[in-house]
């Protein structure tokens, strides 16, 4: 499983997050609006996942485990937070 709500306050993204992880992610964020997203173990994310992160302005923790995401996507997600 690639999207998990852990201890009620952290949503962990792990491994390759695909389109079917989008809905769970969204529901977790709706259920726990102050949760942070820990994506340090995330190796890849479908557009839908990143879209949700941007739209929700979720607070993201750490850097993802993918060069592409680190270099190109993380800055955008971080920017959206503000």
């Amino acid at each position: 499983m690639t999207v998990r709500l852990v201890d009620g306050v952290t949503i962990v993204l792990e491994g390759q997050c695909e389109i079917d992880d989008a809905d769970p992610l969204l529901r977790h964020l709706l259920a726990a609006p102050h949760a942070t997203v820990d994506w340090r173990l995330c190796q890849g994310a479908h557009t839908a996942i990143i879209q949700i992160l941007l739209a929700s302005k979720a607070v993201v923790h750490g850097l993802p485990d993918s060069i592409f995401l680190q270099r190109n996507v993380a800055p955008l997600v971080k920017k959206a937070q503000d």
């Binding site: 479908h46 557009t47 879209q51 941007l54 739209a55 929700s56 996507v73």
Partner: protein
Amino acid sequence: MNEFVEQFLLEARELVEQATDDLLALEEKPGDSERLDSAFRAFHTLKGAAGIVDFAAMTRAMHAAEDVLSAIRTGANPVTPRLIGDCLTCLDQVIQWLDAMQVSGGELPPDAEAGADAILRRFGEESRVGGPVALLALPQQAPVSWVEAMLDGHPEAAAEASTAIRYSPDPGCFFRGEDPLGLIAQLPGIVALDLLPVAPWPELDALDPFACHLVLMVLISGSAEQAATLLHQVLDQVEIRPLRVATGGVEGDPGLSAAARKLLEAQLLLLAEDVAEGAAGRLASAGKVAANVLRHGGKMAEAERLERHLSHSQTAGDPRILATAIEAALNGRLLAGAPDDVGPAPRLPEETAARALRVDVERVDALVTLTGELTIAKNAISHMAGLAQDGMDPKALAALLKQHHVQLDRLVDELQQSVLRIRVLPLNHVFRRFPRLVRDMAASLGRPARLVTEGEATEADKAIVEALFEPLLHVLRNAISHGIETASERAALGKPPVATVHLRATRDGEHVIIEVADDGRGIDLERIREVAMERGVAQAETLAAMTEAEVMDLIFAPGFSTATAVTGLSGRGVGMDAVRMAVDRLGGRVGIESRPGEGTLVRFTLPLTLMMTAVMTVEAGGQLFGIPLDAVVQTVSVPHDRILPVGASHAFVLRDRTIPLLELAEVLGQGRTMTPAAEAKVVVAAVRGGLGGLEVDRLGERMNVMLRPLDGLLTSLWGVAGTTLLGDGRVLIVLDLEEIFR
């Protein structure tokens, strides 16, 4: 050669033929959109085929032609002879490549890239910004503010960026299994990425996670081409903008030194001088200096090109041609090829004989049936052998054998005919090459002419069809260069400015008739008489006694034609005598008719197949000869006292006609071996419109033989039409009566 390459070679040739046909038709009727589409499709398919066998150079070349035709389809460019010519030249190159691959067993021609480069230059490739990008719908008028915004927003990245891409995925793309971000991640050399919502984000609980609301914008250091390739499946949602325009200069071009530039500029000033006096000298001098400057700067190829432009400038008497070339050199642009640049030579008519035959299924089926019947006949023989062994009455056995022989005879006949039918090809096979060649010849000889072909579907034996190419080409060339008047002459005569040459084929019984007819000036009999006397072909007295038809026929006489003009097209000087010889060798005849001021007609009469010839065998001087039965009128015994000497030879009277008589043994240089009988055995034959008699020692039987035309050393053998192998292994020489009675 693997099956793909084999199929490639086969299909490519057909496509080239189709494209040639379409291009020529399009030239006649520029508005014919069907032809335009068909030509476009042909080049397109050729491009695809080249891709399949990994022939990159050919792909490039076909792509260039495709673009040119595409521009015509959209109405951006008109159909011009130059353009048609360039496309045809492109096809010439393809044929050269295909021929090379055929010979090399499927290896790509090593110098193909250079050929493709030449083609691209011809099409003016350097003004474009590189391949597939041109096909993308680069929005012409739309503001490129997003590009500017990207560049402004990422200044550090802007320096390295070569291409900007904007990807607006369909909202429903996730359902197609697409992942836009994943796709973008694969682009080469990403230096900047922006993800923007198409509309302000809604509240999170109103967000549809399965719809794509993003626009992705990327700057990459990779090329637009690379981006297009990667994004091929979603091109309709993507905008790709190259950020660097390709300079015309060659990469790593060292450029010209300041001194060199000054010198070139000085030549331009020289050429700009408007004084008529000394213009030629200035032109020559400017060209020489400019070429030397380039050579000194290490630009050998450029220098050569410039010199060609110089000579062109000199012939045209226009210094601007050279000036343009010098300017191009100054600007570091590749000089476009000069008009007489060595492109691929016009396809020499050396087409290797087709190795493959397309055969009608029915013809093969007929063979299958025959095989069955032959098997039955064969079995019958073994049955008869059994009967013989069992001591069957010889007379009865002989009767049975005769019966089966008759049957076998019929079957072998049928078999022969069927096999020959398979070898039969429509004349289109050789006719189709001519429209293009006529176009080229007319252009190079300055005589506008068009070729109209008829009866291309008429069939003849493969060997004959293929052997007809050279003779027909020569006759056509003659028609265009000598037969047709200049455009102004024709206008003065009230003839249409473009001459028409008809190439017609019809079937006439067991013969195929091919006619080459032009509407030119016809044959000048006086001129023929003059030339004949000049060349020693005929004396004045003989000429005076000749009919007009006979005088015209002198054109085919050996020694009549000059055969000094070697043309690039046929590669060697050939005269009409060679044409006649070639046709004779095929077992046919060629003749010429003409009406002064109206035109000339050359008629080829050819056998339908390398047929069975019915011959009558005769013995003379101890040797066996065959006389074509269709020439034999009758055989007759003539008492020796009825043979009268006439001049140096003999004649006899038959039914009130005086018939010249030749002794075959003597004519062929054999002495008589048999004591002359009281009566001479004479074969009366129809020869050259009259009758002739051949005295022989013995008359033999009739038989059908497969006449093999003479080849190799035997070709020059006088009096012989061909040979055939007899059942007992002897060679039967079949006589050419026309030659014997000449």
